[in-house]
């Protein structure tokens, strides 16, 4: 009963000061909405990076030639030729923690089909590469180990390359395209993967047996890298150690010599990327937190002014029988109503803004329940806290002094 009356009093007081009320709310709305939107953008990009990485195979290892210890200094051509086909065979035949491995050599150049030209990259690999990179052949089939043994002039192409070279929608299977005058017969088309989060077109690929690329295209006797899969995500460190042992033995490196190759695990990469995006999220959260704080100060400011402005009203209420606690409750209820309403509107605006960011800017967003809860709680607490201080000041006023206040 008492509370209902106080609620009624507070609502009437708010109703008499709509503009002031709205301005106070505006601070909270902006604060809450920006926290939600910023965190949604941060979390969205983090999620998409994560999804991307697991899509690429989170147990993937990449082995590159060269020691990589020399920082930015460019390494000599010899240093970059330390990986050989035998290294591939040793790992393939001996490594227990490696489930799949493929050498990799590539060459950039122009692909030609009649009048259609398209610049892309030819990658020489083994069929295992599909498992490692989580690729699938959609039409036709992958080339075989026999094709590798014979350095057959065949290839498997991505959808983008197909669209560029066969603009009229002909069936590419069995067709011959040229790369640096070398004819390659298309035996398969890869399933479409789309663009990754870094904007790369994952369908812009042409795969051929690595032997074909080494002998017929590049005429080299070394390989440019190796792609491998650890048995599972948790074994990628073991796999990486094992590969290091095998390669060092195979390269006959002395104990004190440094590795002449480097291994990058997808895990490392993923940690690096998620730490970057974590940093971004923290940064965004800071900005949002500041705007929430500014909102809180806005509430305090307006509450404070309103107590001063309404000193006579407070004096009158006390003169006709309001107790200190009634005045305190009234101002607190006003603060709670303003901050809760502002908080709810802020949540709606934040969700809407996140959605607009997603639709208009094409950025990935993800709204977490905790960010909604957090910003709501923070704004309500700031509202109530900053409302409480001037409310207490009002409650302690002497009625006769308050009513005389000019």
């Amino acid at each position: 009963m008492r509370f209902v009356n106080l609620l009624k009093i507070a609502l009437r007081a708010l109703n008499n000061n709509k503009l002031r009320c709205f301005l106070t709310m505006l601070g909270i709305i902006i604060g809450v909405a920006s926290v939600i939107t910023m965190l949604a953008i941060g979390q969205g990009s983090k999620n998409s990076i994560k999804a991307q990485i697991s899509e690429m195979g989170s147990n993937m290892l990449m082995i590159f030639p060269g020691s990589g210890q020399r920082g930015g200094v460019r390494q000599s051509a010899d240093d970059m030729q330390t990986l050989k086909v035998e290294d591939y065979e040793v790992i393939r035949d001996n490594a227990k923690f490696v489930s799949a491995i493929s050498p990799q050599v590539s060459s950039a150049g122009q692909f030609v089909n009649g009048n259609n030209n398209y610049p892309s990259q030819l990658s020489g690999i083994t069929p295992d590469y599909l498992n490692i990179r989580k690729l699938n052949v959609d039409e036709g089939e992958m080339f075989s180990d026999h094709d590798i043994a014979t350095a057959a002039k065949v290839c498997v192409v991505g959808r983008t390359v197909v669209n560029e070279l066969f603009p009229n929608g002909e069936n590419p299977l069995g067709k011959v395209i040229r790369f640096n005058k070398i004819p390659l017969t298309i035996v398969g088309v890869l399933e479409e993967k789309g663009t990754n989060s870094m904007g790369q077109d994952q369908d812009d690929v042409v795969l051929a047996p690595y032997t074909t690329v080494m002998k017929r295209v590049l005429a080299i006797d070394y390989i440019q890298g190796l792609f491998a899969s650890a048995l599972n995500e948790n074994l990628s460190d073991e796999a990486s150690d094992e590969i290091t042992q095998l390669l060092r033995a195979n390269h006959k490196l002395k104990d004190e010599a440094e590795d002449d190759f480097q291994i990058r695990s997808q895990q490392e990469l993923s940690e690096m990327m998620s730490s970057t995006s974590d940093m971004m999220t923290v940064l965004l959260a800071c900005i949002a937190g500041i705007s929430l704080l500014v909102g809180g100060i806005g509430i305090m400011n307006i509450m404070y002014v309103s107590v001063t402005e309404r000193t006579r009203e407070i004096g009158l209420r006390m003169a006709i029988g309001a107790r200190g606690i009634d005045i305190l409750s009234q101002f607190l209820i006003e603060a709670i109503i303003i901050s809760v309403t502002g908080g709810i509107i802020g949540i709606l605006v934040g969700v809407l803004a996140s959605w607009l960011v997603n639709v208009i800017m094409q950025w990935p967003v993800y709204i977490q329940a905790y960010s909604v809860l957090l910003s709501f709680v923070v704004c309500t607490v700031t509202g109530v806290f900053f409302g409480w201080y001037p409310a207490r000041k009002a409650a302690n006023l002497d009625p006769i002094e308050a009513i005389r206040y000019e």
């Binding site: 009356n5 006579r312 006390m318 003169a319 006709i320 107790r323 006769i400």
Partner: protein
């Protein structure tokens, strides 16, 4: 008029400390007021009328002296208890009305009852309408305070003072801001309330008004200089009717 003392004050003093100086606004005021009296308090500006009335209204406390309201010592009450006394036993009318702005007459009059949980919404409304009826404002229930004349606003303020059925009504220069004609209509209203048995204490500058009350106390420099009973108060209604109409 009953013989029960509703207000007993004994050697009330009130000092205000302003900087290094002490202003002695009341220097030992004593009197008794019986239930059903209509008392006017007069005196020059600065004589301590408002200070006295604020103490009687439990808005302020004396520096020393004893104040018994309805037999209970006000000094011994806590701040909250005094708030409850103001809410239940006292109706205070201010010189400058002190209505809530942008608020209807009805809501203004209901206000004291909102701080009293004994009344529900329906009872509040009924009592507020009754109080506004009593001051002749039954046609202005939903007018906002800023849409009314000074006289009307003062009537709303009086209705607000009546709504909690107080033991005493205290008015501090209730007619000070009003023209003669409106002043007399307000005075008529107070006489009617008095006729219905209310105890009224009415502070005023205007010496003429002493004729219309049953007792007149004059203050000077914080002391009582005269305290006279008026056996035959004049009728404010007659005086009001005698006033020229074109002032309206």
């Amino acid at each position: 008029m009953s013989e029960r003392d509703i207000i007993v004050i004994d050697r009330i003093r009130r000092n205000f400390v302003v900087g290094d100086e002490t202003v002695k606004a009341l220097r030992g005021v004593s009197f008794r007021i019986k239930e059903g009296e209509f008392v006017t308090i007069m005196g020059t500006s600065g004589s301590g009328k408002s200070t006295l009335l604020n103490i009687l209204g439990c808005l302020d406390t004396p520096t020393s002296g004893e104040y018994l309201l309805d037999g209970i010592s006000v000094q011994k009450m806590s701040k909250n208890q005094r708030a409850i006394v103001r809410n239940r036993k006292i109706g205070f009318v201010f010189q400058n009305y002190n209505l809530l702005p942008k608020t209807t007459s009805l809501d203004n009059v209901e206000l004291p009852l909102l701080y009293n949980s004994a009344f529900n919404a329906k009872e509040r409304r009924e009592r507020a309408i009754k109080a506004l009826d009593a001051v002749g404002l039954h046609e202005r229930l939903y007018h906002k305070s800023n849409q009314m004349s000074g006289g009307q606003q003062q009537r709303v303020a009086i209705a607000r003072a009546l709504v909690n059925d107080p033991v005493i009504i205290l008015a501090d220069e209730a007619t000070g801001n009003l023209d003669t004609r409106t002043s007399f209509s307000i005075l008529t209203l107070f006489q009617e309330l008095h006729a219905r048995g209310r105890t009224i204490i009415f502070v005023t500058h205007n010496p003429e008004l002493a004729d219309y009350s049953s007792r007149n106390i004059v203050l000077r420099d914080g002391k009582i200089v005269s305290d006279t009973i008026n056996e035959h108060p004049a009728s404010a209604k007659t005086a009001y009717d005698a006033l020229p109409k074109e002032n309206d």
